[in-house]
Symmetry: D2
Subunit: 341 residues, 4 copies
Amino acid sequence: MITFENDYSCGAHPAVLQRLIETNLIPQPGYGFDTFSESAREKIRAACGCPGAEVYFLSGGTQTNAVVLASILKPWEGVIAAQTGHIHVHEAGAPEALGAKVLALPEHEGKLNPAEIRALASALLKDENVEHMVYPGAVYISHPTEWGTLYTRRELEAISAVCREFGMRLYLDGARLAYGLAARDTDVDLPLIASLCDAFYIGGTKCGALCGEAVVFPRRTPAHFVNFIKKHGALMAKGRLCGVQFDALFTDGLYFALGKQGVETAETLKTILAKHGIPCYMDTPTNQQFAIMENQRYNAIRERVPVGFWSNPDPAHTIVRFATAWYTTEEYLTELDTALG
Amino acid sequence: MITFENDYSCGAHPAVLQRLIETNLIPQPGYGFDTFSESAREKIRAACGCPGAEVYFLSGGTQTNAVVLASILKPWEGVIAAQTGHIHVHEAGAPEALGAKVLALPEHEGKLNPAEIRALASALLKDENVEHMVYPGAVYISHPTEWGTLYTRRELEAISAVCREFGMRLYLDGARLAYGLAARDTDVDLPLIASLCDAFYIGGTKCGALCGEAVVFPRRTPAHFVNFIKKHGALMAKGRLCGVQFDALFTDGLYFALGKQGVETAETLKTILAKHGIPCYMDTPTNQQFAIMENQRYNAIRERVPVGFWSNPDPAHTIVRFATAWYTTEEYLTELDTALG
Amino acid sequence: MITFENDYSCGAHPAVLQRLIETNLIPQPGYGFDTFSESAREKIRAACGCPGAEVYFLSGGTQTNAVVLASILKPWEGVIAAQTGHIHVHEAGAPEALGAKVLALPEHEGKLNPAEIRALASALLKDENVEHMVYPGAVYISHPTEWGTLYTRRELEAISAVCREFGMRLYLDGARLAYGLAARDTDVDLPLIASLCDAFYIGGTKCGALCGEAVVFPRRTPAHFVNFIKKHGALMAKGRLCGVQFDALFTDGLYFALGKQGVETAETLKTILAKHGIPCYMDTPTNQQFAIMENQRYNAIRERVPVGFWSNPDPAHTIVRFATAWYTTEEYLTELDTALG
Amino acid sequence: MITFENDYSCGAHPAVLQRLIETNLIPQPGYGFDTFSESAREKIRAACGCPGAEVYFLSGGTQTNAVVLASILKPWEGVIAAQTGHIHVHEAGAPEALGAKVLALPEHEGKLNPAEIRALASALLKDENVEHMVYPGAVYISHPTEWGTLYTRRELEAISAVCREFGMRLYLDGARLAYGLAARDTDVDLPLIASLCDAFYIGGTKCGALCGEAVVFPRRTPAHFVNFIKKHGALMAKGRLCGVQFDALFTDGLYFALGKQGVETAETLKTILAKHGIPCYMDTPTNQQFAIMENQRYNAIRERVPVGFWSNPDPAHTIVRFATAWYTTEEYLTELDTALG
């Protein structure tokens, strides 16, 4: 059985699972006060080059976005995001459920443009009716984006500079960060992210763990962040579950190796698609590839190869997402090649 | 290393972990559409004697309470709970964060009294200013309660009848349900709970799983419940994580066996406490025992045996919680005996 | 002293004030149960040709929008509005504070396009991930719009049809409705609005009253609407204050006469602007006129004539809002003419 | 026609209405930037002996409580109030709708006890699980209370001291403050309240105005308070409406004179009740009197004299509220005397 439907189709990377097995019956305090979580935090701090960072583990991405935004936004503030941003489109209004309006800007291959952020923040803050409006309190970016694209160092620096200029916090959603860090030509690494963002999360669920995301506050942690976690139902009694997994992921570079596996299989996948004359919707350097397929071909293949429906750019074609991951093997790719043949 | 600090100190029961290992690399759809979740749902329906029930898996208890309450309450309604109810005291205001006021009633060994529920509901609904007040929309009970006590069949029937009389929904928090079902003289079982409650959850985190609670709607599921789950950040991408675990827990009666282990070790624990002249604060038939210890003794023992601080009934004494669980072995009890000696 | 800054610069129309004086010391029940409110409701029902309508009085527009939206939206729904919609831009995130996401669409001279509403609703409801998204539950339109423009009967019918097709409610914000109803070539009247909308409000604050808006539910009132009003702090103890005023406004066609005064003075104002070579940003049939002025001229005039700053279309020009109202007299217009000369 | 049903049965005091008439057609900026509001603010600052205070006008009490609490509480905090507190019982869950849990304490003739506040705050803040709980962020008191009783200077000082000790803000709901300040033996005046509270409001609706409450922040105003007002739909376009009224109320001591009228008529009312052998439920020094009447007598009188039903202490008796106000004349009292005869 193979799949390209998404990047959360299998359980945990075997090394992560092995660590859960080994530690299973060692009693530990709850709520993240266990030694495994502490060890994981220490390793993440090191990987970020940020000895003073605070790290928290939550179980999923939407939850993480909601809790972090609730904690970094003031009641009068909203968050700037791309039209395609996950928080704007695919989180069922979770930020708004906590009272935070999403201030949407156009997307450019999934990315925000620094000049457009500046223009919006500037217009809002200069408006003499600003007290009647939602203040721009934070900027949300995803890296990789929902289109699998990546910001460059220069772009992140520019966005971070705009944030500092207007007193906005910069928050990076790293649900698929492993694949972003492993991309071939990227000049963005964890220490850079830690130096430019006020908060970000290192995705576990889509990058080798059963569940779990690691929230990093490189400098200043919002007051009473644990209370925010608890209040939003996101405090795990067995905090060890995430701690153990992230401890394994950040041992011997496993997290980065898993990212590499996802990216390299995506490169091969691109070659296979090209070989079969299937164009990509956009050039994407990470583990998600968006192919434009004739409907007939799409319908034929999806019986044998689970893929993700994205949209219909015109009545005759479908944009299809092929996602690779740490568990995508040679066999997966060979079968796809055969299926397309 | 031993502990009586709580009932979530270890990982998963080995049989649960084994199932995670076996299924780890079998690709499955996300968000609970996997075959393991479906199998678990089927087994839970059978155990509840409720073939038409809908079952959902969430990762933790506070989250589950918040999501279920948000979905079963109308905007003008609140929820009746005991002063000691977990939602009233220990969830950081999570129900209120979703706009649901907790209408607190006195507790009787952790339990609500049906007559007091009726009096409150009746007073509110007869008040000519009721539109200025919070309507009683649901009753929250925990079983076992926060004091480890249990409702009887007769008590549950009486509360359920009051709920029906006033159009309120009955919701049961079963964080420790395994231990409640396994108590020696209880006449409450899963089919009874399913027949009397509008919603309840079968606790996994404290009863053998790494994480996860199974929400059961025996009859009518709230409209768009999945949207509520997603909106509150509680929809797991890898729904299989809970599905696999609950499938294991409800195979060959494991869930009930784990409950029995917790209750039997608690019985032995009571004997040990009695032998050492330590009285219990209340007679409790489940896995939590609340002992009254002189402060000196408490301070001496907690170095060797992790226990839970509860409160100080007077300056010289401490109420201490001893929690057993599926992982509490003979060795734990022997060491406690020695430590108290 | 004159002003064109906005349409809420003076107190109440003298006939409205007179009615407050006459009724001042007649004791009445609170919360809208007074006879004046009842009389006003009856007159509004008649004016709407809707004997079965329910009518409620709230004190201001943002509040009214928030309370009505909270009551007509389900927890999983959001509201479609134009990018320029008051609820999207100038209500400080009030809908989101109640958990309701605004789903923004492009504006066309302040108006929504029925085809674009259909496309959005259709795309959302057909999406297989719709449970991860915000459902389209209602459409918000303002009439007149924020640009002072008006929907035609045909446009309203088309939007209403889309709403019925997708089970969405149609809500009309009539903050300046008097001026809309009095426009020269409009084919939209109160009975039409009542027949097409599920909820709307007849603005008082900007149309002759000291404060107050009349919410009309032509057919079905949301359950426990009074509780929504109270919960959002919008239930006036002295409901008579709004009741008396709306009773006066809907006696002998006063409301319509005031609208006519605002529109006719706006027509004269347009002539004056044209005479002085000042173009309008768009052709607007109601009481708000948006003029494009050279910055120098704008700066010169605003010392003598208070007007509203709108935006800078380019560095050398300013869009300026001139608002007329029921209190705009000949004298106002003459002085403006002089000031521009 | 007479009434004792409540203290908001008539319109505005004639002097207040007169001021509305005089200022009606003088154009002014909106949103409280008018000269009348500024004048009123200045007079209130003087009456409070607090030249640096900030003053805001909102239209009603429930709204004011919600907006102030939202602005002074942090997201992890709740508010301590008496079981009988208006925010806890009669505001339809408005604080909770903004996410603020009410932490209820026993009432003592409607009042909070400083020692009980200290015990609760201390217990919460010392609890090692405090991050799982709602922090005590503010104390809500009403003065007069819902039972018409008053705090003494000493009691207010003690509560204020507890607040300072635990970093809680003290907020006073003065819906009926005029009657509290005018009570015979009170040692509490506006400067004292301003010196002890972090926020309070001077009630207008029940003390001579058509609507309106004046929020006073004697020292530090919450950041972006206007945005809170707007976001909660409480910013009046015609801020002048409240400004003019409070300007009149604080001219020549009118506010205090109205309070005196209410209190003196209440004293006479007490005499009349006593003369007719009707006991009071509690000794109350302000404008609300709670009488214990046999049901038969209550039913007989309420046809002729509107009064407020409160509760049934036993099946044969009713507690009835008689409210006097600035509009209660000799005639009202004479008719009551006759009706009881």
